[in-house]
Subunit: 697 residues, 2 copies
């Protein structure tokens, strides 16, 4: 019913307890007649407009009450004693408060006497008062503990001085067999599942029972209900013996579902006395174009009227959560596991990778052929990330809509306990090569015109905005990435490449100085400069591609004499320079933060008279970064004194940063298929130390 408000504004109803807003007043009538029972919530006040319900001709009034009741009169009476009748005027208002919860129903009283001109009594209004304390509590100060009645619990603010509770999307699977993301079942499958949820506590204090007909109701808007479920811990009496309890633990009755997309409003029990009821809030979906990530949960106290009339909410407490965004991890974070595929033809590559990962001290995970079915592009099918909250954190894989033969790997092999899964489904016709996640990268932390990006910025590749046609990353994935907000994306131009991935011309490596990283860019100009230098120094007859099967060697002279190749590479350099300018602007880089790598490209005719670029020799920028060790496609460049000049140049450029180059032969099994080391691998990394909610937005 209220879906629109949670998205587009805060419902006016629900603002009573928001930080900074004044105390909640409830207007009530104070008519003569039989005593009226009133349930009062400590921390609010009742406001009686005296004149409106006074007997006609009333001119004075007086007030009496028991000790747990405080009242004030507005405008303040002149007389010093409230016991003598006070003049009643058109604006006379009585404000009633109670400072602590009642032990018994109607244990407090307040009465108002109305008098006529001659102070004769015209009538008496009596309230029988019962006070309760109610607070719906969350971890609004983000320390992992649910504090009591945080004044900021009803709103959400970014930053180290911010506030507001955090919710995880429960996108892992507690089960390893017959598994599916926990969000897809509307029950708590295991007790261990509770740690993926945010604890919410309903604290109440008052008499053993609420007065007849009053009840507590928890409610959410229809819009929010798509994004959240609430469970509560079941009552102890439902479970009597431990075998029974064991059964229940697995079959859920211990944690009844309170709110979901089917049930937007439900009564929750009032436990009586001093009580705490634990509830568990489960996030169901990530922020996206149509969901800003904020969710409100409300608890109202309802007053009965009579049958056939809706109960009136007389008090509403409200808490706000933000769903944790999905966060990517740049090359500068510590690796945990390296993933590669094993295929019938990539033994050489696997050997190189095993060697590199082993000596770097990380875990190598091999996806075997019965799973990968020959699809070796481990980079392209998925992106590793994580979600984080003060109470829990776990890795989450984003599954690409690319859906090559590896398509089942993320779900079947990665999803599991404390390993989440998320995807975005696109129509086949909208999916292009630009949807592979070699086209989805993230920068290390940067600062740009004074704005900090402590989690870096996401980088994707698309077509020129001026293009009347061209390939693009599909809208549903782009929408998802932008909606996470904490790593504001940058769109580069990658459609000039046949494969069209940003990892074909750029990567980031750690550095000891400056911004703690360097941007590496493929540079045909640098390549030509290197080859011209070789020629000049008498190595014009040195050959590329020597010793490779099925590949014709070519001399440096022949390359330099190929005018068409030169002009193709001028074009490629202009495309990369265009991206260089965007990256400098959007990451706040200087030229000194960028290293040009000597890499040539060539153009191939894709459709009739439409040309796009591929790497001329193994594309060294398409590397895997494991701490200080780089796994680089072996370029098979011209040899000078027995050493590959391209490798030598690469090593010399990286040495100054304290980085070690390992060249991996991916020529036949990857390069010839238009990918390289990076395309054929994936790295799960440690999360950032920086907490996303401390971002200043």
């Amino acid at each position: 019913m209220f879906q629109e408000m949670s998205v587009t504004g805060t419902p006016a109803f629900l603002r009573a307890r928001r930080s900074g807003t004044p105390e909640h007043h409830r207007t009530c009538s104070l008519s003569t007649g039989p005593p009226r029972g009133v349930l009062h919530v400590v921390g609010t006040s009742l406001k009686a407009i005296l004149n409106r319900s006074a007997p006609p001709s009333s001119k004075f009034f007086s007030v009496k009450c028991t000790s747990n009741v405080q009242y004030s009169i507005s405008p303040p009476p002149q007389e010093t004693s409230h016991l003598s009748p006070i003049p009643l005027n058109g604006n006379s208002v009585l404000l009633i408060r109670m400072s602590r919860a009642s032990q018994f129903e109607n244990d407090s009283k307040l009465s108002v006497r109305y008098y006529g001109e001659n102070k004769e009594v015209l009538g008496k209004a009596v309230l029988h008062l019962t006070a309760v304390e109610i607070s719906l509590d969350v971890d609004a100060d983000r320390d992992g503990v649910v504090e009591k009645n945080n004044p900021n619990k009803g709103s959400w603010k970014w930053g180290p001085n911010g506030h507001g509770a955090i919710l995880l999307v429960n996108c892992d699977s507690e089960r390893s067999y017959g598994k599916k993301p926990d969000t897809e079942q509307n029950y708590v499958s295991r007790v261990s599942d509770l740690k993926d949820m945010s604890v919410m506590v309903l604290r109440t204090k008052g008499p053993a029972k609420l007065p007849e007909g009053y009840k507590l109701t928890m409610h959410i808007s229809q819009g929010d209900a798509e994004s959240v479920r609430v469970f509560r811990s079941g009552s102890a009496e439902a479970v009597n013996n431990s075998l029974h309890k064991l059964f229940y633990n697995y079959f859920v009755k211990d944690y009844p579902l309170v709110l979901s997309s089917e049930v937007l409003s439900q009564e929750v029990p009032y436990l009586g006395g001093v009580a705490e009821m634990t509830l568990y809030v489960e996030g169901l979906r990530f922020p996206d174009k149509d969901f800003n990530g904020l969710i409100s949960i409300n608890l109202s106290l309802l007053e009965p009227i009579s049958a056939g009339l809706p109960e009136t909410p007389i008090f509403t407490d409200r808490v706000v959560f933000r769903v944790a965004p999905w966060i990517m991890t740049p090359n500068t974070l510590e690796p945990v596991e390296v993933f590669v595929c094993s295929t019938s033809d990539n033994n050489q590559f696997l050997k190189g990778m095993r060697n590199l990962v082993g000596k770097s001290g990380y875990k190598l995970k091999i996806c075997h052929e019965y799973v990968n079915r020959g699809d070796r592009w481990m980079q392209d099918e998925l992106e590793f990330g994580y979600i984080d909250s003060p109470h829990h954190r776990f890795p989450v894989v984003l599954d690409s809509p690319r859906d090559g033969l590896l398509l089942d790997f993320p779900y079947n092999e990665l999803l599991g306990p404390d390993f989440g899964y998320v995807t975005r489904v696109a129509q086949r016709k909208d999916v292009s090569s630009l949807d592979s996640f070699g086209n989805l990268e993230v920068s290390p932390p940067v600062t740009l015109n004074g704005k900090n990006y402590p989690l870096g910025r996401i980088i994707i590749g698309v077509a020129f905005p001026t293009a009347t046609k061209g390939r693009n990353m599909t809208k549903v994935v782009q929408d998802f990435l932008w909606a996470q907000k904490v790593q504001e994306p940058i769109a580069l131009f990658s459609d000039w490449l046949v494969v069209g991935h940003v990892d074909e011309f750029m990567t980031f490596v750690p550095a000891p100085d400056r911004k703690r990283f360097r941007l590496l860019l493929a540079s045909p100009d640098s390549g030509y400069k290197l080859f011209r230098g070789l020629q000049k120094n008498g190595h014009g007859q040195a050959k590329l591609f020597e010793g490779l099967r099925d590949e014709e060697p070519i001399t440096v002279d022949d390359i330099l004499n190929d005018e068409s190749l030169q002009s193709e590479n001028n074009y490629v350099q202009s495309c990369i320079d265009w991206n260089r300018d965007v990256l400098k602007r959007e990451l706040g880089l200087e030229d000194e933060d960028i290293i040009d790598l000597p890499i040539l490209f060539k153009l191939v005719e894709e459709e009739e008279k439409e040309y796009r670029a591929v790497a001329y020799y193994p594309d060294m920028v398409n590397m895997i970064v494991l701490g200080r060790n780089l796994g680089i496609p072996k370029p098979f460049g011209p040899k000078v004194n027995g050493r590959c000049a391209l490798e030598a140049e690469m090593c010399s450029l990286m040495e100054g940063l304290g980085l070690k180059c390992t060249f991996i032969d991916d020529f036949a099994s990857y390069h010839k298929l238009l990918g390289e080391v990076h395309c054929g691998s994936n790295v799960r990394r440690e999360p950032f130390d920086f907490k996303w909610w401390n971002l200043e937005m």
Copy 2:
């Protein structure tokens, strides 16, 4: 292609000229070889990374250029004269600028000489430069004039110190016959239509023609294309004689369509010399849940590469518009026209209205029966509002999805030249009585906890958020209202009424003091107090409903003795008090800003055992407010000394505010059908003096 970015973030591509960002640098190569022609845009700079394209073994370089070219070298050379060779190091960068447009192609030159160890010349790179000035301009300072190259034109900021251009939804119809909103045709039907659009000017300066292959392209994202069209003034040579021109004026060829949802990117002519091309930007839709109202239009200069390769954008200028929101007008604004329906049975009412409107000096517009087909609820079918921009303003009717027999009135009778039309289409099953616009009101300007609402706040009625069932205003209309942003809505509880409209229990009237208005609320307590006073003063036998046909009179005593009626009214008072508390909180009101009107209600059984309220006698709060004149439903209350006690009380309450009450008999033709004067009328009012873009958001 880029739809997602305009909504979820600014495309990195397009930030070059945003205010506060540094000058746009374009990286280019500077290789030795034949001279290279380069087109340069004044205000940007070319950045050549010297080392990367220098001949191998280069150790020094020198630079020479013609007078229109400026350059700087980074890091700055030690030598005082640039003419002696400068040491070349890994970071040497040459920044090239041109300060004014060229008169002829390649009229400027720059050359770089590279030297070896012994200062022998190794090569020379020559650029042939042509400079152009390009600026896409809008009225970013909101004074109605398109200034030149406003530094803030690429962003939008609210407030009196804000900036950013404004767009109207072209939702009126230039034609009165065969009409439809102008947004529904993709051509300029009349020259008069241009004033509903925002002028945009493309200013260029340079040689007579751009160098071969370069071109100017205007482009928008796919997302923005749903919300905007761009036309340009056609070239003069296309039209040779005046008859021809007349024809074209009507049939559009003078204003070719540049951009639309079908054409996201199109070349625009470069006119040569000093030129201005006028373009017209047409808004197509109002802000809504999926559209924040911001639109970007880009102009890029494209550099040719060669056939089969996409042209590279080497410069992009960008302007941002915000679509003007739809704005409602509260009772405190000056009326222009009053609308009522004529039916077979409402002569008495019409007489009263004619009299009231006539003496107030406004225009009465009568909707005749052949149009209204017996549907008399003029308030419910539509809401009058307006849209405003620095260049133009006109009224816009919001057509309700209620769609009673009046459904064609807003489109057929109101839409026209400078009278806009907007609606939101809902499924029949989602439409309830709460979708009638008696349930859509707006407050006068208010201030709340220091936040100003100089255009007031929209007020709608819905069900309690805690209700498990209940009626509501349909989502599409609520989304629309919230998305306008400038009159942030408040949701009240109105589902307790049979008809369910907020105008059944509240209205606003102008006042000379305090907040310049009072909130009037129906109050059963006040009603009972008045009747008890009558009884006490010996008028218990005075009768309500005297002299009415088909209505049984009832005495004051009988009313006061009806205990069931008393408890029904206690419930109604609690519902109204609940809304009173929300209104006080959300409008920043004090009790002194509110006047209680003596009005009783009764409950009727709607469905089995479900009760809702209707007015017991004509509901005086449901009035029409025309300046200082109020048209109030004649209550037919008990007479004291020949004067209706309810009318007397009403007059006495309003007199203090300088307001004049006119009581209009709507008993048989409106009250008995569950509506009153307000439900049966509508008022088009003058717009606010306050300009919405001056809001601080």
